[in-house]
Amino acid sequence: MTRRPHPASDLALSLLLLVIAALLLGGAAQLPPPQFDPLGSAALPRILAGLLIVFALITGARAVLLWRAGGASDALPWSPGAAARGAAVLGLLVAFILVMAAGLAPFWAAGTVYVAASALLIGGFTPRRLVVTVLGGLALCAVLTVVFTRFFYINLP
């Protein structure tokens, strides 16, 4: 069974499509006219932007009509709890990448802390889980370091 999209999410989608279409049109405007081939490099961005604008208008109009007709359900397409937990997991991932990209910690240390922190965030804290995830994270980081440096000749930071 498929879930009917919430009109708010359709309006947001419509806006997103318009933004992407504007970016495509803006980028295409900076391209020179075609010299060798009849189509040129700006044609496809313009065609796709046109299609996205049409889709955005249809999606937006449908959402507004549904809202006005009172067909909108109060439920959002995701529960606030699930969204918050997903956002927290994403936040930890971004923090891990920032630490690694800035070279603030070696891979084995940052990776182990990240694995343990994410696992506790998703599953909840228990002392046993902390020990298991720290050991598991350490083992995985060691294996990945060995595989990438010895076999693929890539130095993980």
């Binding site: 980028g27 009849p38 969204a83 971004v94 990448i97 696992a119």
Partner: protein, 495 residues
């Protein structure tokens, strides 16, 4: 025939065989875990194959594909929860049989049917591909453009919610493939002054972001406990009498699965549904379907595995993906500077036949691994999310970074994961998006080449009957559904 035998012999070299076994085993485990799937596993593995030889990387990926589709039956039968969408139909009869204490019987039927379906479609793949490839050699740029447009529209038209949402997915995918140096003019296009964008968005971080990170973030948010499993007691068994009894169903379902797999975008889940319907139509006891009918499991599993072989036919012969996983496989070949299509049989026959041989052998490996290790794989489905998800996310980061030793790829991966989440919330199917992303550069290149060769501009397409046919099918796929709905509405009496 000689090339196929050579490829089969090469498949039995220790490295290739080891990759096939590893890929199939990984696919079975991931396929059995509800929420994860073959597309995520293959996207995750791509960075590793980047550093491998053609034969071993193809074996690993094909093994994962076969295992990923087959593994879904374990959770479908034991947990009433399909590991993959392809196994949804298997739950209809698999779980009722399990509840009656027949888990081993249901698993035996599912495993043998999966193997038979895969084997029969492998025969079609081996028999048809060389001829189709020879035929496709006659195709020029207009035919390829028409073929890709047909694939786009059919995929979008068969998207889960609506044609409009499928088309939005496909067009967005194409739009994100545009940035980079334009191949024809050499100009930077849509890079907005960002130097890392000069080479465009690399296919690997895009796929890892869309399929792996997005999926894990979405699953981690829900944090559902592993479902309760019904224990499988007794030994797996499939006798000669069973073979005689189920052979017509296996043959019919495998042929249905193969032909449905051939069509772009329809996929394994529809294949299993159609063959289930046909098995019920042929049955003397149709009322038993859905309550634990053994023929239901056989029809579903034979068809969904056969659809994999069917989908590989247009991929290998014409470079057209039959499913999302096939689009990822095209990306994998492109990473190795291989362009799937008819020239693959001419320029790199070892790769083209290697695909076929790997698919054939992977089905035997799948049979062996599932027959011996189903209980072990079933136990792995009980691994909780908190233990699994952080490891996968860490692996994604390392994999994306290792592509070019560049953190830009990691941010691209994260950006596409967020885009994937937004699109999922808005019910935009990700299949057309990925296929649009992978095929847009090819479609644009073919269109521009066609126009350069043509004296009559776009009218040049009219001189190419196959191109006109493909474009007409594409146009019909867009126009026919709303027209049919309109006709149906007018015929139905007013309330």
């Amino acid at each position: 025939m000689t090339e196929l035998l050579n490829a089969l012999a090469a498949t039995f070299s220790p490295a290739v065989l080891a990759c096939l076994v590893l890929g199939t085993a990984l696919g079975l485990v991931v396929g059995a875990i509800p929420g994860l799937g073959a597309s995520m596993l293959i996207a995750l593995t791509l960075p590793i194959t980047f550093h491998m030889a053609n034969d071993t990387s193809i074996s690993l990926l094909v093994g994962e594909y076969v295992g990923g589709i087959s593994g879904g039956l374990i959770s479908a039968i034991l947990l009433n929860m399909p590991g993959t969408p392809a196994s949804i139909v298997t739950t209809f009869d698999g779980y009722p049989i399990t509840r009656k204490g027949g888990a081993a019987r249901a698993l035996s039927l599912g495993i043998v049917a999966s193997f038979a379906g895969g084997l029969i479609s492998a025969l079609f793949l081996a028999g048809l591909s060389p001829f189709l490839a020879k035929f496709a050699l006659r195709f020029g740029p207009w035919e390829y453009f028409g073929l890709i447009m047909m694939a786009f529209v059919m995929l979008a038209a068969l998207a889960e919610d609506s044609l409009l949402r499928g088309l939005i997915g496909a067009v967005l995918g194409m739009a994100f493939a545009l940035p980079g140096i334009d191949a024809s003019s050499g100009e930077a296009r849509l890079t907005f002054g960002l130097d890392p964008l000069l080479s465009g968005f690399d296919v690997l971080p895009v796929l890892i972001g869309i399929f792996a990170i997005r999926q894990i973030l979405s699953e981690a948010g829900q944090a559902a406990p592993p479902p309760e499993m019904v224990a499988s007691k007794g030994a797996l068994a499939f006798g000669r009498r069973d073979l005689t009894r189920f052979m017509p169903n296996i043959l019919r379902s495998s042929v249905i699965g193969t032909w449905i797999g051939l069509l772009p975008g329809i996929g394994a889940s529809v294949a299993s549904l159609v063959s289930y319907g046909s098995a019920r139509a042929f049955s003397k006891t149709p009322e038993r379907f859905g309550k634990g009918e053994e023929h239901g499991i056989v029809a579903s599993e034979a068809a969904n595995n056969a659809s994999v072989g069917g989908a590989l036919i247009p991929l290998v012969t014409m470079g057209i993906p039959g499913s999302v996983v096939d689009a990822i496989l095209i990306g994998a070949l492109m990473i190795h500077n291989l362009q799937p299509g008819p020239l693959l049989f001419q320029n790199s026959p070892e790769v083209a036949y290697g695909f076929i041989a790997a698919y054939l052998v992977a089905n035997f490996i799948m049979l062996g691994l599932m027959w011996m290790g189903t209980r072990g794989i079933a136990r792995l489905t009980q691994v909780p999310g908190w233990a699994l998800f952080p490891l996968i996310l860490l692996f994604c980061v390392v994999g994306a970074y290792a592509i070019n030793n560049d953190w830009f790829d990691v941010w691209v991966m994260l950006g596409f994961a967020l885009l994937g989440l937004v699109l999922s919330f808005a019910r935009i199917p990700l299949g057309p998006f990925v296929i649009g992303f992978v095929l847009a550069p090819i479609a644009e290149g073919q269109l521009r080449t066609g126009l350069m060769y043509s004296d009559d501009g776009f009218a040049g397409v009219l001189e190419r009957p196959w191109a006109v046919t493909f474009l007409a099918i594409a146009a019909l796929s867009v126009v026919a559904p709303p027209l049919l709905r309109l006709v149906k509405r007018r015929r139905s009496p007013a309330p």
